[in-house]
Symmetry: C2
Subunit: 200 residues, 2 copies
DNA sequence: CACAAAACATACTACATAGTATTTTATTAT
DNA sequence: ATAATAAAATACTATGTAGTATGTTTTGTG
């Protein structure tokens, strides 16, 4: 195989296995050894492609995590249609689309925020970037809703965006404590109530 | 010193230092060695009082964590007064009362939920107990608000309780990414909006 | 006071960990 | 083809880890 292509492939393989293991078992307790066992390559390959575990962590955040949140939570916000309906369906549909595995392990971003964000500024910055991009996407949609007279102009778009994100990340954590979806139903009901009341 | 008293004191000392270290550095990366270095005792003392690290973890959750959440977030809900005002002040005042240290490290319960709840059922159960107690306290207050015609009778008390808890835990995590309180201000604004709309 | 038991200390084992040094194998350029 | 370089493997170091085994000291009891 061509060298550049091969190199890129290995980096991606490491990235994918890392993301999976970080998600399932946490960042700190996932060792480089475990990751490389999953890739069926060796430590030599790892340290050839990544400077250290921290660099890998940052790559996972800015490449894998960012993409995941973008596709699931941001892209739908830029679609055409009634802003309020989009808001509602994005949050609710996303939640309903999660597999058992994803419900059990929560939000990979929220897990990292709570596990490692307060012990390395670099992780903080990388994770913050995703949160702010998400916030912006929400604000864009809410503002559009206002200008189209679907959403109450007197509410603060940013406040609503922050509150929506907080509740979503919060419930993703809390759901980890259960092995059924009852708590998600309550969340959805609470969310609907909230959204009904920012109508114009 | 009397033996029983001495034993209880050491257990408490270990519990306090553990809580502090788990909170600051996470559960998995806090070793028994580090804890015992903090207590200025030795490993022998630890394994005399606790069977293993898991038992300690469970003790920290059901003793230290439960107490913290109860005092900060539940006890105020049982005070007399306008239910809606109590709801608002409890969430907002608590948030405003946090030290820089507590803002930096987030909610100790939420940290544990996201770090370890999906890798040991015992932790899951212990943490769930606290969440459900908190939920009950909120439902009690919201129901009281309804019966006193302060809160809209048509809303679901449980849904509101779940949504409030989710958003609170969520923002405690997100705040860890920042070194200022702007995001908290947005959260408070979003929360106020929410509470204004469950009025009767 | 003796001796039993609890509280704690010391010394250890076996294994996991991040990262390095060195070697082997595959790819590319001349 | 061969020399150079990239990709990956192997072998290693130094340190951290949970837990155990066995001591020593302190406290309680007949």
């Amino acid at each position: 195989m061509e060298q550049r292509q091969k190199s890129e492939l290995t980096k991606q393989l490491i990235l994918n296995e890392s993301f999976k293991l970080f998600y399932e078992n946490g960042f700190k307790t996932t060792s480089v050894d475990k990751i490389m066992k999953a890739t069926k390559l060796t430590k030599g390959a790892f340290y050839h492609h990544y400077k250290n575990k921290k660099e890998l962590g940052l790559a996972v955040i800015s490449l894998k995590l960012q993409k995941r949140i973008y596709e699931g939570m941001m892209a739908p916000l830029y679609e055409p249609g009634d802003a309020l309906v989009i808001l509602k369906t994005t949050f609710i549909d996303r939640l309903k689309s999660f597999s058992v595995h994803e419900k059990k392990h929560g939000c990979p971003m929220n897990n990292l925020i709570n596990e490692i964000s307060d012990y390395e500024i670099a992780y903080q910055i990388a994770l913050k970037r995703i949160i702010e991009e998400w916030q912006s996407a929400l604000i864009y949609l809410i503002d559009r809703g206002k200008s189209e007279n679907v959403i109450n102009k007197s509410i603060s778009s940013k406040a609503v965006a922050v509150y929506l994100i907080s509740a979503f990340e919060g419930i993703r954590g809390i759901r980890k404590l259960y092995d059924n979806d009852f708590i998600l139903e309550e969340y959805i009901s609470g969310l609907s109530l909230y959204l009904n009341q920012i109508k114009s």
